[in-house]
């Protein structure tokens, strides 16, 4: 029966090519626009550390002065001060913990063919690598002893290794960073967390840093900090943020089993209370412990424009579907004579309904293919946009399947009403009027 209905559908669609093309085009445009924006939304709200995001927590405490504090409403700052970061690090109350900040370093290649250049850097303590599951292509990351000793060691990204050493194993080589000599001990593998959850103060999406050095070393060498610094009271930050307790500029992450999170939060409260007793903190304990997904939500990392575009695309899809519905209905109603004959010859309403639904399904399918092509075009256009996330906009298998399901579902839904209306025809009446 299905192949017969399909044949009927194709005949009917061929009879009015222009109209069929119009309906297919409308569906394709709607699907294409929705899939483009959905894909972007999907990519941007993805989990940057799959499998680990539930165990990684951003710890926030509130070292600010009493000015501007509203109990229960004021959120603690996103970042921590040098003093608090170091204290929390030393306490080692979590499975793993890392204190970090972003920076810019001058890279002086030994290779005289290359001019010196500036590269984004991350200054962090050793647990960064095992905590975030950072893969290493060559060598290894540094350890706590290197942190302690402010060792002049560096890990570089695969991209920087490609640029400096043509992708060869560069461990053991010396690299001059911000005027100091560092030994390369590791090269990152394929690691591109997006969004860059660990430090959203610089940028949320894009290429991660090229250079990684121990936090203690970066402070010894006086490497430039780059990222958000918030000071209060008479705190001030110069070229590099001060180590006094009046500016926050470091990110503190811990790895915990989710069951241990309440205990760690209690520890943060205790720590805050203790600092208040010492006179360092003025506010009552005000702490937050958010895992990666909660952290991304809290920071509203997906740009407003992207969400707006998604709404817009679905509004557009809705108009396209209503458009298709109207055209389908008009078309089916015009064929009431033919449908009446089929009814009179014994076809059940259910059979007619199925036949008409297959006709709209065909339009949905062809529209889906068209929509997919348009989505690819749309994503290509998105990649040419000036936004930082642009390069990430690629269709994946899940979105591919979703495109077809969306197209088919939408057009079947849009075919439902016209098909139902057309089946309501009394066979005798239709035969008579003609």
């Amino acid at each position: 029966m299905f192949s017969y209905y399909l044949d009927l559908a194709l005949r009917s669609l061929r009879r009015n090519i222009a109209l069929t093309a119009l309906m297919v085009l409308a569906v394709a445009l709607g699907i294409g626009a929705s899939m483009t924006t959905l894909t972007v939304l999907h990519v941007l709200s993805g989990d940057p550390v799959p499998g680990r995001s539930a165990q990684l927590y951003r710890a926030q405490i509130d070292p600010l002065d009493a000015s501007g504090y509203r109990p229960g409403q004021t959120q603690p700052p996103d970042q921590v001060t040098w003093i608090d970061g170091m204290n929390l690090l030393r306490e080692k109350r979590a499975e793993r913990q890392a204190l970090m900040t972003g920076g810019q370093v001058a890279v002086q290649p030994d290779n005289t063919m290359l001019d010196p250049f500036y590269e984004a850097a991350r200054y962090t303590t050793a647990d960064f690598f095992p905590m975030f599951g950072v893969p290493m292509e060559y060598g290894r990351a540094w350890n706590a002893a290197d942190d302690e000793a402010s060792a002049r060691v560096a890990v570089i990204s695969a991209a920087l290794n490609e640029r400096l050493f043509g992708g060869k194993d560069s461990t053991g080589q010396t690299l001059r960073l911000s005027g100091a000599a560092f030994r390369i001990i590791g090269v990152l593998g394929d690691w591109h967390p997006n969004p860059q959850f660990y430090d959203l103060s610089r940028k949320s999406y894009g290429q991660n840093e090229g250079v990684y050095v121990p936090l203690s070393t970066s402070q010894d060498v006086g490497m430039n900090q780059d990222g958000r610094v918030d000071c209060w009271g008479n705190g001030g930050s110069g070229k590099n943020p001060s180590h006094t307790g009046l500016c926050v500029w470091l990110q503190f992450w811990v790895q915990l089993d989710p069951s241990a999170a309440p205990a760690y939060k209690a520890f943060l409260v205790d720590y805050s209370a203790q600092q208040k007793a010492l006179g360092r903190f003025q506010r009552p304990p005000n702490v937050r412990l958010r895992n990666v997904i909660q952290w991304l939500d809290y920071n509203q990392v997906v740009p407003d424009d992207v969400r707006l575009q998604t709404w817009l695309a679905f509004g557009f899809l809705l108009v396209c579907l209503v458009n298709m519905m109207g055209l389908m209905l008009a078309k089916f109603m015009r064929r009431s004579g033919e449908l009446g004959v089929r009814r009179a010859l014994g076809a059940s309403r259910r059979a007619l309904f199925a036949q008409l639904l297959i006709e709209s399904g065909v339009i949905g399918l062809v529209g889906g293919v068209g929509g997919l092509l348009l989505a690819l075009l749309g994503l290509w256009l998105v990649r040419r946009q000036p936004a930082a996330y642009a390069a990430l906009a690629h269709l994946d298998l899940a979105m591919l399947v979703a495109t077809f399901l969306l197209a088919l579902g939408a057009s079947l839904l849009a075919g439902l009403l016209p098909a139902w209306r057309a089946c309501q025809i009394a066979p005798a009446l239709q035969l008579k009027t003609n």
Partner: protein, 410 residues
Amino acid sequence: MDILPILSTLRRHKVTSLLLILQIALTCAIVCNAVFLIGQRLRLMDLPSGVAEHELVQVQLGYIGASPDDKAQTATDLAELRQIPGVKQVALARYLPFTLDGSANAGLKLDPQQQQNTLEAETYFGPNLLPTLGTQLVAGRDFDPGEYLDFDAVVAALNRGDLTGLPHTMIITRPLAERLWPGQDALGKTIYVGNGIPFRVIGIVAHLARPYIRQDGSEYSTIWPIRMTPADGASYVIRTAPQDREAVLKAVVAKLRQLNPNRVVLKKRTYDDARNDYFATDRAMAGILGGVIVALLIVTALGIVGLASFWVAQRRRMIGVRRALGATRVDILHYFQTENFLLATIGIALGMVLAYGINQFLMLHYELPRLPASYFPVGAIALWLIGQLAVLGPALRAAAVPPVVATRSD
């Protein structure tokens, strides 16, 4: 034109008519809001920066190693840059209006005992900023050369708690002055920063936007007498004639390289390019919205063409009968045009309500103002026009139906 027969015909195509009305309503609502959103973006892109935009170029340097002689180097750089033909003014600035480089804000208070800051304002530092940026002083004076303090010395004094090592004068923008002291003369008044550090307002500039557009006052900016150097993260800002920008930029970069090769050029650009980058996403969004409006109107127009063609084909006999009974071609043409006008009008009326609803939703979730009533006619006129244009073809075809059709039975 008699409307009643049209209505009675439409009543026989209730569902199809309703679908068309719904489509027109949705299109109208989306178009109203999209036009409004485009207007918002264009308004942002038009905001005054307060600087001589077409006359500025910017060069940022980064030292490769340590930079112990940074201050002497900066003095040499400044002296040499002023010698370059075409260079009118040179300043060092950390941030500029409408650029993506970052911003530095300070909480301002009117009373040192205040618990909450009155507001947050941008803090611009740098020597020779006003003449270089071309920012117009409307009251008071610019800083004296002797008033400037070095950035690192100020930070050190602050961290020591030594308030004598801090600046105590400030220039603010007129919008900020009017916000802080409405209807009063701001000159000579005192602003408190941090834990009650006083600053006296010695000058007022007409406009100077913040680096980032913020809802709470895009022109709440302050200028402090603090001298910065490239090592502090400041960049050279050079004022020149618009036609000399490219040449001056090239000459400046070459001169700076020659003066000290131990540094990297991190940024070299005209201010226009920087501002363009800042608004690139807004421009892209306006383009996308424009594309959606066009696509929506086309889809809706084609939908109307399709439906009208169907109706014309379906009513050939009726048209033939009317023609045979004496209706002119113009009568038939008007019939279909009026029918479309009626459907469009109902759709537009519904669309207005929908547009208002969408705007309420957007206001709730995004920082958007209320949709002004002046945007409603835009959608209405667009859809009336589109409807009439779309129906013209099928209506002309209907008008061409000869009366003899009435006598045929198909």
